[in-house]
Amino acid sequence: MTQVLRTRAAGAVLTAAIVGLTLATAYIHLGLGGLLFTLNGLGYAGLAGLIVVGAAAPMPIIQRFSWFPRVALAGYTAMTIAGYLVMGPYFSLGFIAKGIEVGILTLLAVDVVRVYGSPMGLVRAAVASVAPFLPLPQRVRALAA
């Protein structure tokens, strides 16, 4: 299963699915009107763009920080779901949007396992990418390496 996930085709399908779901929830939020929903929709659209750039751009500097769009989208999606659970309103389109967002989180989790092996692998990659710019203790640098 992991071998299948590691293929280039699986990566492309997974990325396309994540981007598709992200654009779907962006579209729903942009259609709701009001400042909060519009900003939320624009945020999703921007993060979908970052995911595409992170997956498609061949530059080493972008590859090095490819963990960032995944973490940003996961955090943003989790915050949106939490905000909805607190504030509502609870109606059919809202529940569909939350279902899509749970799908985004699930696919991101699969993507993290595919690319980094585990959540800890992502943390290591993130620390390694920023370590040269930060005054981190040697022990942390060793962990990242």
């Binding site: 709701l32 009107g33 009001g34 309103p89 569909i96």
Partner: protein, 128 residues
């Protein structure tokens, strides 16, 4: 086996989308919009009129919501603008009209808003 599974998933998806696109009969009313006790229009992210008066204290009444915006709106009624007590929350409607059957309220002033857009507010006056 796989085509059957795919068909079932596709059917479930289509049914879900169909359910989203239609207004449920459960939340609607049999009252004709023209016969509703009051009519509120949602246009350009605002309710008009801002103050709605209904002469039906202690009796159930109906309010028609005409949504002229492209986004969903509804009417939720509270005791006052602090929104500490919700008395009624209507189903969302997108680009159409819905009539709400609202349970009896005592005479007085009430606050209403769109649940999705809290800046859309109004006052409901129930007269005896």
């Amino acid at each position: 086996m796989k085509p059957i599974r795919f068909s079932l998933i596709a059917l479930a998806l289509v049914m879900t989308l169909a359910a989203c696109g239609s207004t449920s009969a459960d939340g609607g009313s049999t009252v004709d919009p023209a016969d509703a006790d009051a009519t509120v229009t949602a246009a350009d992210m605002a309710f008009a009129p801002g103050t709605v008066t209904v002469a039906s204290a202690g009796e159930a009444f109906s309010v028609a919501l005409v949504n002229e915006d492209s986004m969903p709106h509804n009417i939720a009624i509270y005791t006052d603008s602090s929104k500490s007590e919700k008395l009624f929350e209507g189903e969302m409607v997108t680009g159409g009209t819905i009539v709400y059957d609202i349970p009896a309220l005592e005479a007085g002033e009430y606050f209403f808003e769109c649940s999705l857009h809290p800046n859309m507010t109004g006052t409901l006056i129930i007269e005896g």
